[in-house]
Symmetry: C2
Subunit: 156 residues, 2 copies
C-alpha cells in the first residue's frame, strides 16, 4: 500500500517545474510542492511515533511544522525548490521506513504504541498511506488546473 500510494504520487507530479510546484490555486490553497513536503513530514513524524516510540521533540516539531500544518507558513516557506528536492526527501524518508519495517514482524504491527496509545503501528502506517492518497487526490485536481503545458487532464 505504501509503495503503490507513492508510485501514484510521483506519477501525479512528474515533470512539474518550480513555478508549477509553487503555484497557488487560490489564497487558501497549498501548493503541490508544499503537499509533497507534507507527505514526507507526516511519514517522518510517524517514524518517531512507531519506530522510536517517542513523540517528535520540540526542535523537530518546529522544523516540520510548516510542512505538517501547511497553511500560511507553508505558503511562505515551502517554495523555490525543484521537483528533485521533494522527490529526494520523499525517497530518503521512505528508504528508512522500509528498512525499519523489514526489521520488524507482524506482532510488532499489532502492539499499542507507547507514544500514541490510541493506535498501533499497523493503523499508523495505514494512516500514512491514507493521508498521502488524500493529498494525491488534491494534487491531481490542482495539476489539472495548471494553466501551463504541464497541466494534463484530471485523472481523478
Amino acid at each position: 500500500m505504501l509503495l503503490y500510494a507513492r508510485h501514484t504520487t510521483l506519477a501525479a507530479v512528474e515533470g512539474l517545474s518550480v513555478a508549477e510546484l509553487d503555484h497557488l490555486h487560490d489564497e487558501s490553497s497549498n501548493s503541490i510542492g508544499a503537499l509533497l513536503a507534507h507527505i514526507a513530514a507526516v511519514e517522518r513524524g510517524y517514524q518517531c511515533i512507531t519506530f522510536e516510540e517517542r513523540p517528535p521533540s520540540a526542535v523537530e516539531q518546529a522544523a516540520w511544522e510548516p510542512a505538517l500544518k501547511l497553511g500560511a507558513n507553508g505558503r511562505r516557506l515551502l517554495r523555490n525548490e525543484p521537483l528533485e528536492h521533494y522527490v529526494h526527501e520523499l525517497g530518503e524518508v521512505r528508504r528508512r521506513t522500509l528498512e525499519e519495517l523489514a526489521a520488524r514482524d507482524d506482532a510488532w504491527l499489532d502492539r499499542t504504541l507507547t507514544a500514541a496509545p490510541a493506535m498501533n503501528a499497523h493503523w499508523a502506517w495505514f494512516h500514512v498511506a491514507e493521508d498521502e492518497i488524500n493529498h494525491r487526490g488534491q494534487i491531481r485536481w490542482l495539476r489539472a488546473r495548471l494553466t501551463s503545458a504541464a497541466g494534463r487532464p484530471n485523472r481523478g
Copy 2:
C-alpha cells in the same frame, strides 16, 4: 480500512445541502454529490469483479457510467439529490460488500480474479478504499471553498 475511509468520507459531507452537493467549483469540476455517487459506483463495480467474478454487463456499465467516468455527463445527470440519497446508496452498497467479505477467507483475497487477471481481490478492495480516500481529499478541498455557511476550514 474500508470502514475508516467511509467514516471520514461521511464526516467530510455531513450537513451539506442539495445546492452545496451540486455546486461546481469551476467548469471542469465534479460536484461533491457526483463524487459520492462515484464512490458508490466504483464499489459496485468491484463487487462484480470480485464477488461475482465477471465484468459489469453492458446495461450496468451504461447505468453506472456517469458516476464512474464523471466529467460532463456526471455534471449533467448527478444532481438534485439530497445528502440522504447518496448516503443511502453508499450504505446499501457497503452492506453487501461487508456481507460478501464476511463469507470469504484470507485465501480468497489472494486468488487472481478471473474477471481481472492483473489483480487479486485483496488489491481490488485496497483500491476501492484508495479511490475513495483520493476523492475524499478532493471533497474536503471543495467543501472548504463553499461560500455558504456549511463551508468549514479545510481539514486537509
